[in-house]
């Protein structure tokens, strides 16, 4: 057998970091807290690098977690191509964001708590990715939700932050409800949750399509839609921006929210057998991409623009999954991790420079004052807009090409993706112009460049955002194919170049419109101009939160309060109990004394009870048994 890679160390190191900082961090100096917190992801990253040279796939089993009469759940970690890519992103980008956080959070009194939670997140996220069975994945899945809850609500004194954390957890739980039902279906039908066993059982049954597999795939996708913020469960992600900005970069852009995409890719052997489920995934993905991009057009909070952008880009990834182009989806997941982490961190640097201001209407002119932030952000803006030969150019193109090649529905979805690419370029360049160009519109802001602990990660991520596409261009699919299956159809020749040209053109159109609106014309006049039709609808995010409040939350509270508590519990059940109690009271005046609270009367009660008991016990013997079952033996 091949040598053990000690994969268990990858999650364990961050867990140790969490325990140390969580239990002792309050009393430790900041340098030690930082050292512990940074060494954990660095160590994990190095172990992943070492492990990457091993023969893949590589599985390690450490024991049995749950054994029951009907199924066994092993503690198994699997390193294969997709999990390797994910781990490199999680620990690598994670490490950079830890470094950045040292600068960003330096004056926060919850410094130790912040790093403890961040390490806890890495523990659960690496567990999720390494899990060899669906239940172990669910451990990481719920665990990252917990870390997300704690970090969104990090500044819990603010009710908005506490609300946002709670909302994230509950909406994710709605998704997890679907995930759980999917797990129950898997156990009921296959008796196992191990990915390799499931794949083997389904592969051994080539005629098995649709039906139960569709149900399983759709249930799992409900979970994925919750975690990865897809329609209709995306509502928690924009609110999650209440958390510290590096958290938004790591958890709510680069890693955790991509877990849904990873899960669909990991269970692709189920989705592959259900054309219906795949279509649902593709349609939800494309619809979310477009929907979120339109909201992003008009947001004025710099982090909210990026949040809707994340929802939209995740939609692309699901579009890729939905046309069975899993490796394209994972490819875009990786490049997105680079440029979206960079966008958030650069936005954090801008917010830092502006003294906490997040409203882009009060920014402007930061190009000269924060040059490094400006240049790195520029790299990210061009990358996400699909500028030729930057990272998203390759990955987005791979998804759009796969969509175009996958039948008539695919052509429609391709078109939606193309329009979204134009919208993406528009809102990103809008952000770029509003933040860095023109006059500074803030009143008492004295913008200053951030410390190098923050700028260093920006520079590294900028390099990855520019060149990251070359890692995978052309070869990524071949690398992942042992785990994810080969790509079904590929575009060839001139059609492929036409596709590329159209996607680039869409990006340029978006840029040009943003340029005309926010650079050539006065921004102040632009902001003051009367809002065009539909602007309010977008500004209010299609009133989806209000709709959910009105149709789900409030009815649930009113139903519980008035129908269940007042009518059922107090009036009906309470009334019945009262009637029965009154009857009982009438039947014995002893209760009158009983209510007096007199200890002696309790003793009398007890003695009486004992006497009755004794009587009944002796009755069969003394008086003969038949007297007792007169009423009952009448069958």
């Amino acid at each position: 057998m091949n040598q053990s890679l000690h994969l268990w160390l990858i999650p364990l190191l961050p867990f140790i970091g969490f325990l140390l900082n969580g239990l002792l961090g309050r009393r430790l100096p900041k340098t030690i807290v930082s050292a512990v917190a940074l060494l954990a992801p660095l160590g994990s990253f190095l172990i992943v690098l070492l492990a990457s040279r091993a023969v893949l796939p590589h599985a390690e089993t450490y024991g049995t977690w749950i054994s029951t009469a009907s199924f066994n759940i092993d503690l198994t970690f699997v390193l294969d191509q997709p999990s390797l890519v994910m781990l490199l992103v999680i620990t690598g980008v994670g490490f950079l964001i830890h470094i950045y956080s040292v600068g960003y959070m330096h004056s926060d009194e919850g410094y130790w708590r912040y790093f403890a939670y961040l390490n806890l997140f890495l523990f659960f996220m690496t567990t999720l990715v390494l899990a060899g069975n669906a239940l172990l994945m669910f451990v990481g899945w719920e665990g990252v939700g917990l870390a997300s809850y704690l970090l969104i609500g990090f500044w819990f004194q603010k009710n908005s932050a506490a609300d946002a954390g709670k909302k994230a957890f509950i909406v994710n739980r709605i998704g997890d409800f679907g995930f759980l039902i999917g797990l129950f279906l898997l156990i009921a039908n296959f008796g196992t949750l191990s990915f390799s066993d499931l794949a083997a059982k389904i592969a051994a049954n080539p005629t098995m399509t649709g039906g139960i597999l569709t149900a399983i795939a759709l249930c799992l996708f409900v979970g994925a839609a919750g975690k990865s913020a897809q329609l209709p469960l995306y509502v928690w992600l924009p609110d999650a921006m209440e958390g510290p900005t590096p958290v938004s970069a790591l958890i709510h852009a680069a890693t955790m929210v991509t877990a849904g995409v990873y899960m669909v890719a990991r269970t692709h052997f189920i989705f592959d057998r259900s054309p219906l489920a795949l279509s649902v995934v593709a349609i939800i993905g494309a619809a979310t991409a477009l929907f979120a991009a339109t909201i992003g057009l008009v947001q004025t909070d710099i982090k909210r623009v990026l949040a809707y952008s994340t929802v939209s880009q995740l939609g692309y990834m699901f579009l890729g999954c939905g046309v069975a182009a899993y490796s394209a989806a994972i490819f875009h997941l990786m490049t997105h991790a680079f440029f979206k982490a960079l966008l958030f961190l650069a936005a954090g640097s801008v917010i830092h420079a502006m003294g906490g201001e997040q409203d882009m209407r009060k920014m402007g002119g930061l190009r000269t004052k924060t040059p490094i932030t400006y240049w790195t952000m520029t790299a990210a803006v061009f990358a996400i807009s699909g500028f030729p030969f930057l990272s998203a150019f390759f990955s987005k193109d791979a998804i759009l090409a796969a969509a175009f090649a996958s039948g008539s529905l695919g052509k429609l979805l391709w078109f939606v993706g193309l329009v979204t690419a134009g919208l993406t370029a528009f809102y990103m360049f809008r952000l770029w112009y509003l933040t860095f160009f023109g006059e500074t519109r803030g009143h008492d802001a004295h913008p200053h460049e951030s410390p190098w602990s923050m700028l260093g990660p920006l520079v590294i991520l900028a390099i990855l955002s520019i060149g990251g596409g070359w890692i995978g261009a052309g070869r990524f699919g071949a690398f992942l194919s042992p785990a994810l299956g080969t790509e079904t159809e590929e575009l060839t020749g001139s059609l492929e170049y036409i596709m590329m040209a159209l996607a680039v053109a869409a990006g340029f159109v978006g840029w040009l419109i943003a340029h005309r609106m926010y650079h050539q014309r006065s921004v102040a006049a632009q902001l003051a101009a009367p809002a065009p039709a539909g602007y309010n609808l977008l500004q209010n995010k299609y009133y989806v939160d209000e709709f959910y409040g009105l149709t789900i939350v409030r009815p649930l509270i009113y139903l519980s309060k008035y129908l269940l508590e007042w009518v059922v519990d107090v009036a009906i059940l309470g009334g019945l109990a009262w009637i029965l109690a009154t009857l009982a009271v009438f039947s014995g005046a002893i209760l009158q004394r009983w209510q007096s609270g007199n200890i002696r009367s309790y003793a009398a009660w007890l003695a009486l009870g004992a006497a009755v008991l004794l009587y009944f016990v002796l009755a069969p013997h003394v008086f003969g048994a038949p007297s007792l079952h007169l009423g009952m033996a009448g069958h």
Binding site: A69, V139, I170, R173, I181, S560, L564, W594, A633
Partner: protein, 507 residues
């Protein structure tokens, strides 16, 4: 030692109750003495898992001595995989209860601790008695100290709550007694193993068995409580002293269902199982919805507990091996979680003298340890993986799913609602701006005694979530009264009776 251990576990707290009642009450002497007794008993209970033979199904540490010749009542005690950990749980919650009462009980401590020990004795007795008459005696005995202490130490309206508790739990135990006596009149024995065999071979007419089983079920269902018999629960939770409220619901009724309803009357239980599954699921959703809208945190906890007890009821009546194992495990999980929540909320009440949720807010910065522990226990309650609540929940739900897709899906909705009410509770008490109450009161974080109770429980919640096999292995040895044969359709269950007669095995 093995044969005397269960008797010792019964006698030590009983002797302690008498001792505390007789000795003069000076300062904290009763509390210290009770602490020592409960710790000693807890130590004794640990003997059981240490010497339990997992390879040997059936009762262990058994003692069977004739006590009264006519009627034939025996002192018959023993534990198996079902009751083993419940006895240890009672042992663990003994010192926890004493420490939870340390500050809360300031007057008439002698009576309180004496009654508390009597209550402990009764609970041990319920879990180890294998003679139905002795079992019934302990069952009744468990009600009395509870009712008295609720009346004596009630917060606002103790005597009314005590009356309610007593009526709700005492009235259903009358038919239970009649049913036990009827069984005796037909079979001539009170012994559980003999009764099981006699009923299996048809010694009791089937028509009467229906009513007998129903009488058993009714008494147990009230005690759990199963919807709609939960009327006593919220008042008891908000009036009873913390140390008693934390043990009153759940385990006695659920254990009795498994042992004496499903165990003695498998056919009758199987026939009525659809109703119980439905009531269990209704209880899950109903309790969760009502927990959402409570303003008093004791009542909140009552409905949250009801919701979780509904899930275990579903596990008991799903009639699957995994479901029974999960239900037994979840009884332990649930009691531990509830006990920790009672201690935590009790600690809040001692500090801030109110149980109105709206008065709280922003406590996390003032009492960070209390907040941390509250969050950990809440996470266990809402079934976060790696903590214990998840294991039982998953075993019960996944096995129920094989019996009924619809009810299992409805029950799984509870995972969303429990997150909603629990996290909302955490937010209202600990997050947000500091409330007037928080600002006006001195901030005393958890003290050593409270931490000595809570941290070990928190660690236990984690161990039970990470290494559940330590417990599941022994729980699974509990002899199942019926053999299940999973039909191909996975929804049909064939119930057949085992013919193993433990009476013959004994001879």
């Amino acid at each position: 030692m093995d044969s005397a251990i269960l008797t010792l576990i019964l006698l030590v707290p009983l002797a302690g109750a008498i001792l505390v009642a007789l000795l003069p009450d000076r300062g904290k002497s009763s509390a210290w003495l009770t602490l020592a007794i409960t710790l000693a008993t807890f130590g004794l209970t640990l003997h059981l898992p240490a010497h339990f033979d997992a390879a040997h199904p059936g009762f262990q540490f058994e003692v069977n001595k004739p006590w009264i010749e006519n009627p034939a009542i025996s002192y018959h005690v023993g534990v198996d995989g079902l009751s083993l950990w419940l006895v240890v749980l009672v042992g663990l919650l003994g010192p926890v209860g004493v420490l939870a009462s340390w500050k809360a009980i300031q007057r008439r401590e002698k009576i309180f601790y004496s009654m508390f020990l009597l209550q402990q004795t009764a609970m041990y007795g319920v879990f180890i008695s294998l003679d139905l008459m002795v079992y019934y005696g302990f069952w009744e005995l468990s009600l009395v100290p509870m009712a008295i202490l609720i009346a004596m130490y009630g917060r606002k309206n103790g005597s009314a709550a005590a009356t309610k508790f007593f009526l709700f739990t005492f009235i259903p135990s009358a038919p239970l007694l009649v049913a036990i006596l009827y069984l005796y009149s037909r079979t001539g024995t009170f012994q559980f193993p003999d009764l099981r065999t006699d009923i299996a071979v048809g010694a009791v007419p089937a028509g009467a068995l229906f009513w007998v089983a129903l009488a058993f079920l009714f008494a147990f269902a009230v005690k759990v409580p199963v919807f709609p018999l939960h009327g006593w629960l919220a008042d008891t939770f908000s009036e009873a002293p913390v140390a008693l409220a934390m043990v009153v619901a759940g385990k006695l009724g659920l254990y009795s269902m498994l042992r004496f309803h499903v165990g003695l009357f498998p056919n009758q239980a199987h026939n009525i199982a659809p109703l119980l599954i439905a009531l269990g699921v209704i209880g899950i959703l109903y309790g969760a919805c009502l927990a959402l809208v409570q303003r008093d945190y004791w009542r909140f906890l009552a409905f949250a507990a009801m919701s979780h007890l509904g899930l275990i009821t579903v596990g008991v009546y799903g009639f699957t091996l995994t479901g029974w194992t999960g239900a037994t495990y979840q009884i332990l999980n649930n009691e531990l979680i509830d006990a920790a929540l009672f201690v935590l909320l009790g600690a809040l009440e001692i500090r801030y003298a109110t149980s109105q949720i709206a008065a709280y807010g922003g406590l996390a910065n003032r009492v960070p340890r209390l907040a941390t522990l509250f969050v950990i226990v809440s996470l266990a309650m809402i079934g976060l993986p790696m903590l214990n609540g998840f294991i039982g929940e998953f075993l019960i739900l996944s096995s129920t799913f094989t019996v009924s897709h619809g009810w299992a899906i409805a029950a799984t909705l509870g995972v969303i609602l429990s997150a909603a009410y629990m996290l909302w509770m955490v937010q209202r008490v600990f997050y947000g701006a500091e409330s007037k109450l928080a600002l006006d009161s001195p901030a005393h974080d958890l003290q050593l005694g409270e931490q000595l109770v809570l941290w070990p429980i928190a660690v236990l919640l984690l161990i039970m979530g990470v290494a559940p096999n330590l417990w599941l292995r022994t729980i699974e040895t509990a002899p199942k009264p019926i053999v299940l044969q999973q039909a191909r359709s996975a929804t049909q269950l064939h119930v057949t009776l085992t013919s193993t007669s433990s009476r013959e095995a004994q001879r």
